[in-house]
């Protein structure tokens, strides 16, 4: 190289040229991506998605007819509905402001940060597209969801399907835009996390209180004003249109414009962190790895485990190095001498797990308790209002279980460490469930207390069924987690066919079905936990509920036994099949 190779003067380039270069870069990459796309595969996926989606919508439309409640009075709906539906917009605001404080909602490639955002080019022009894409995606997804829900609602109330689909679609789009725009604005304004939590809580409490007051006819005039009412009223345009509700659309558009203008001020530090995590998150979502998705979402929220466990006042004092060396030597000698009659101690696992759970951050405990409360509301409303609320209960049971299984997750995510311990894997896994089961007791008690608050008629039964229910509901997440545990490698399936041969012969319809089944299986297992609630709704006698409870305990025991004996049972099953094949040959 020449001696003045680096003597070129440093200048800030003309921004129009830089933008042209950026567009060039993006077009080149887009062309390449499109060139690599398998269009036949995409068309096939769209066809499958459309077919399954349409069938599902038609089926649910028929199933839902009358489930919410026949003869809903339109006047009553217009009076009470907006404040309740408005809770969704306020929830979007609450989630958005929290997401913004945590560095969300936009994520871009790390390479874009390193090579483009560190270049002398206006960051607003770079970030315009990612922010717009995020807004568009959220508006489209929730708009579509809203439209589907709207035409379902149309089967229950006055108004045409088209009008309801359009109104609820617009409402869904507003919810999506509210979430993303609020998050971008909160992010760029550097709203601290405590303030975001306060704002979110304030908005939710305000809207919730107004909705409660209107529902019980306890309020009039200004007491009925809440931030989500206009948008909530817009969702009911299927019945009646009121021009003033358009203000909700104007506000959403103003927020969109603000988010697009402020996009260039998103913090690079947060973008770097999110860029690294989101690529992993997308991959996990692509392979339907729900557990990893939840774990990465926690990391995206910067949810770190506590260095010092709850309840521990001081750092533990360590013995001096000489004592430690002596102690280690003694322990090694003792373990060698007594290796023949040595047996593992459950207290070691218990100590490790209790510390693991006591290291969970306060926000995680709050979330677990909230899931318990949501489950309680879902259970009470399933019994007293509509079986559709069983879905709320199921979701709460599943995610409360997933949140509580930290010790087992930690063990299964580090198989090398587990295999380094001279104890059967199943024994370790099963003992990790003890601490989580204790945490779930609190979830059950919280849920029961909330259920009694919502429907006092449930009474003591709530407390009797709650704990077995949350344990059984956690069995789905246990299965999800255990499916990630290592198994003895084998080149053939149980039927003796090579694994590669089997997968290559499966037609796409069945491959897709088995993937869907693998994703849904844990949720279906958790659904068993909701059985007592449905028995209480439809049978309505204590004896039937009691019998369902016994079945639940039995089911939980079987799953725990499977966790404990999975390896030997798997081996026995394989031997059984191999012996059968040998005999027939």
């Amino acid at each position: 190289m020449s001696s003045d190779a680096f003597a070129e003067p440093v200048v800030v380039p003309d921004q129009r040229t830089s933008k042209a270069t950026l567009n060039d870069l993006r077009k080149t990459r887009q062309r390449r991506r499109l060139g690599d796309t398998d269009w036949y595969d995409i068309a096939y996926r769209v066809y499958l998605f459309g077919l399954v989606g349409l069938t599902l919508v038609v089926w649910v439309s028929d199933a839902v007819d009358g489930a919410i409640g026949d003869g809903i009075d339109s006047a009553d709906l217009l009076a009470r509905g907006p404040s309740i539906v408005g809770l969704l917009v306020v929830a979007a605001f609450a989630l958005g402001v929290r997401s913004g404080a945590d560095g969300g909602p936009v994520a871009i490639e790390v390479a874009d940060i390193r090579h483009v955002l560190l270049s002398p080019i206006s960051r607003r022009s770079v970030m315009l597209r990612p922010v717009a894409q995020r807004l568009r995606a959220a508006a489209f997804a929730l708009g579509l969801g809203g439209a589907v829900l709207g035409q379902l609602i149309a089967t229950e109330v006055e108004g045409s399907r088209t009008a309801w689909a359009a109104a609820c679609g617009a409402f869904g789009a507003i919810v999506g835009v509210t979430f993303v725009a609020t998050a971008v604005i909160a992010h760029t304004l550097r709203v601290p996390r405590w303030l975001a939590t306060m704002l979110a809580a304030l908005a939710l409490v305000w809207q919730g209180a107004v909705a409660w007051g209107i529902w019980h006819d306890e309020t009039t005039g200004w007491q009925r004003v809440a931030p989500g009412n206009l948008a909530g009223r817009l969702a009911l345009w299927g019945v009646d249109q009121r021009p003033v509700d358009v203000i909700a659309i104007v506000i959403a558009m103003a927020m969109t414009a603000a988010a697009l203008l402020l996009g260039g001020q998103l913090r690079l530090e947060a973008l770097v962190r999110r860029g690294e995590l989101v690529s992993q998150l997308r991959f996990a979502a692509t392979v339907q790895d729900l557990r990893t998705v939840v774990q990465l979402r926690r990391q995206l929220r910067s949810e770190m485990l506590r260095t010092r466990p709850w309840g521990q006042r001081r750092r533990p004092t360590r013995p001096p190095p000489t004592v430690l060396a002596h102690g280690r030597a003694s322990a090694t000698a003792a373990s060698t001498a007594d290796s023949s009659d040595w047996s593992p101690s459950a207290s070691v696992i218990w100590r490790r797990d209790s510390r693991s759970l006591r290291r969970l951050p306060g926000a995680r405990f709050f979330r677990i308790a909230l899931l318990g409360a949501i489950g309680g509301v879902g259970a009470a409303l399933t019994i007293s209002a509509s079986p559709l609320f069983g879905l709320v209960l199921l979701g709460a049971l599943f995610f409360a279980g997933l949140e509580s299984l930290e010790p087992l997750s930690q063990e299964i995510d580090r198989p090398d460490l587990t295999d380094g311990i001279p104890i059967e894997r199943g024994w370790i896994y099963a003992h990790h469930l003890v601490a989580s089961a204790i945490l779930l007791v609190f979830v059950g008690v919280t849920g029961a207390a909330v259920a009694v608050l919502v429907d006092p008629d449930i009474g003591a039964m709530a407390f009797a069924v709650a704990i077995p229910m949350v344990w059984a509901g956690a069995m789905g997440p246990v299965v999800v987690t255990m499916l990630d545990a290592p198994t003895a490698p084998s080149p053939t399936t149980l039927l003796g066919t090579p694994r590669d041969a089997e997968t290559s012969l499966v037609p796409p319809e069945f491959a897709g079905f088995s993937t869907a089944l693998r994703t849904l299986l844990p949720v279906l297992i958790s659904a068993i936990g909701t059985v007592p609630v449905f028995v209480a709704r439809f049978a309505d006698d204590a004896a039937s509920v009691g019998r369902s409870l016994v079945a639940l305990v039995l089911f939980t025991t079987i799953v725990v036994l499977w966790v404990r004996r999975r390896d030997p049972w798997g081996l026995k099953l394989r031997n059984f099949f191999e012996e059968g094949r040998a005999a027939s040959a």
Partner: protein, 272 residues
């Protein structure tokens, strides 16, 4: 179009290394050294005032006053977790300071002028999955306003021995080849200040030689270089040595005066 160069009193070609106001002073080690003398003369290439970074409650970098003159060649050393990468990432604008301020060539860090002036070679190279080495070089050079970049790119690629792989995707490369590709990308664009984090990791002999030559050439052309490294043999090439320990400067002076082994030992002792 704004020209950051027009704001400065000296051109790069005429910038004399002796013009720096922070000529390293021999100091006994590992006594912490404060270099907070009042700025005089031309704007420093890098200047920090009470620059600090905390991750939660854990301090990564204690308030730091640092002035690096234009044309200096700095070696930044320190144990793992001493704050080298944190300092570099803050200077380049990827991390936000918890306290304090910093400037690059007189411009606030992260500003468009500072981004034009500073080139950053990170410890972990990052590339687009779908662009070749050559395409990376093209876009990086053009994003920095360099129209006539091709000869420079050819020279760089040839120098690090990547000519045969220039049309390959760098994401498919080994660690060492990735580092070489990242090197070419850091040098293909104009810069006044170059921040380099652990540049020797994964490089073979040819790569190390090429890198040292590039650094010498850039320094000869008046660029300011800050190289964070554990490769103590390369420290002697620099005009000034800064050692960090647990987020604090424990040595700031001439490399020749530093007992590097004692300094790194001292850093560990400080921590304990």
């Amino acid at each position: 179009m704004s020209n950051s160069r027009s704001n400065r009193p000296q051109s790069k070609r005429t910038r004399a290394r002796s013009a720096t106001t922070s000529q390293p002073a021999a100091s006994s080690q590992p006594e912490p050294t404060a270099r907070a003398e009042a700025p005089t003369g031309p704007p420093a290439a890098i200047e920090t005032v009470e620059l600090a970074k905390r991750y939660g409650d854990a301090p990564a970098l204690w308030p730091l006053d640092l002035r690096i003159g234009a044309g200096e060649r700095i070696s930044l050393i320190g144990h793992n977790g001493s704050g080298k990468t944190t300092l570099m990432r803050m200077l380049v604008g990827m991390l936000e300071p918890s306290e304090g301020t910093a400037t690059i060539a007189g411009h606030p860090i992260g500003s468009i002028e500072a981004r034009a002036a500073v080139s950053y070679l990170a410890d972990q190279p990052v590339f687009y999955d779908d662009l070749t080495v050559w395409e990376h070089l093209e876009y990086i050079a053009r994003l920095h306003g360099t129209a006539d970049w091709e000869q420079q790119a050819v020279d760089l690629v040839d120098m690090v021995g990547l000519m045969d792989r220039v049309d390959d995707l760098p994401v498919t490369f080994s660690r060492g080849l990735k580092q070489k590709a990242a090197l070419t990308m850091a040098f293909v664009r104009p810069f006044d200040v170059m921040l380099i984090d652990e540049p020797f990791v994964g490089l073979d002999r040819l790569g190390k030689e090429a890198l040292l030559e590039l650094l010498t050439l850039a320094h000869g052309d008046g660029a300011t270089l800050v190289v964070a490294t554990h490769e103590l043999s390369s420290v002697k090439e620099s005009s000034r040595l800064i050692a960090l320990s647990s987020g604090e400067v424990v040595y700031d002076g001439l490399p020749a005066d530093a007992d590097l082994a004692a300094l790194t030992e001292g850093a560990r002792q400080d921590r304990s």
